[in-house]
């Protein structure tokens, strides 16, 4: 069973996330629709790097921000992550979607698209290299994993990433 965007957003809200900024893709599209339906504070971003800037500003004004982007978008956002969110120790949540990452063994692998192949392989090593803590979001464990991630975020005053792979959230 897939995790629903509603369940995921409920959990973000449960942990106090109250400001959203980012660039949508097919995986987080429904999540963004829900954010708007619920009337949560939301700023559409032109690019993922400025989304981080807006998120940092929102935090400074007392919000608990979530910035969302596709894995390629994290490439755009890397410097803002390192020299703003990380440097100033901003506890914010990055939701990073990974299109076309193969679903777990046993399930049919979705066709690979050439434009996604490199980032799919590079995103997790890239997060490791930039010292971004992350957790892979799955239906079975998401509540527990998100609780751990959000607690770490607050305690260490450092951003955390929640990774949503294609085929894991609807």
């Amino acid at each position: 069973m897939l995790l629903t965007s509603k369940e995921f957003l409920d959990e973000l809200e449960y942990h106090g996330v109250d400001f959203f900024c980012g660039v949508p893709d097919l995986i987080v599209g429904k999540l963004v629709d829900l954010v708007e339906e619920r009337g949560l504070a939301y700023m559409p971003a032109t690019c993922e790097d400025v989304a981080v800037g807006v998120g940092v500003g929102a935090y400074l004004a007392g919000k608990k921000p979530c910035v969302f982007m596709q894995n390629s978008g994290f490439g755009n956002a890397s410097d803002a992550f390192v020299t703003l969110a990380k440097l100033y120790r901003i506890p914010m949540v990055f939701v990073i979607s990974v299109p076309d990452m193969p679903v777990s063994a046993g399930k049919e692998e979705i066709t690979n698209y050439a434009q996604h192949l490199d980032w799919k392989r590079l995103i997790l090593p890239n997060l490791d290299a930039l010292e971004m803590p992350y957790t892979l979001v799955e239906k079975e464990t998401y509540k527990e994993e998100m609780k751990k991630a959000m607690e770490m975020c607050e305690e260490t005053k450092h951003p955390v990433a929640l990774i949503i792979r294609k085929g894991y959230m609807d």
């Binding site: 032109t46 690019c47 935090y59 703003l84 100033y88």
Partner: protein
Amino acid sequence: MRRSEAIKKIFENTHSDALFIFANGRIGREAYVEQDRKGNFYMLSSMGKAASIGLGVAMNAPEKQVVVVDGDGNALMNMDNFAMVGYAGPTNMTHIVLDNKSHDTTGGQESLSTKIDLSKVAEACGYANVWSVKTVDELGECLEKCKEEDGEKNGPSFVLVDINKDKYSVARTPHHAPEVMRDRFMEAVGASV
């Protein structure tokens, strides 16, 4: 006009509890020397992001005047900020670009603003008030209008300030640790730390 004169004037003609986001390079370093305050956020790097940070603050602290002091190089690096600010339209935001048409911090290399008028960009993106000024007095007048409009009917204001290149004014890198800047800024906003 020198950068330092513009910065002095900006402090003089904005609300005493205004929140400032200073772009990296000489802008933040000269502001730090001129008047270091809790409500000053100095960008140490992340070039281009001053107006995005300012937008995030302005949207969520609507009762305060939020002043972004940007440079031409910074503004050009993320010109998409203009679109986001125009779209969101925070009435309490004043976006100032100190334009010396160069990357003065790194030795004065020419920037694209030699040919691009950033006030036209602000206008096209829907800033409610757009001014282009050449003297300290003109700058002061525009900033007084921004104060009047603060929190009221109008959307964001933009002031393009023509300044000279200047590598001789005193400039110091802010000595506060980044997380200290974060906490004292939040204190100035009135946000819980």
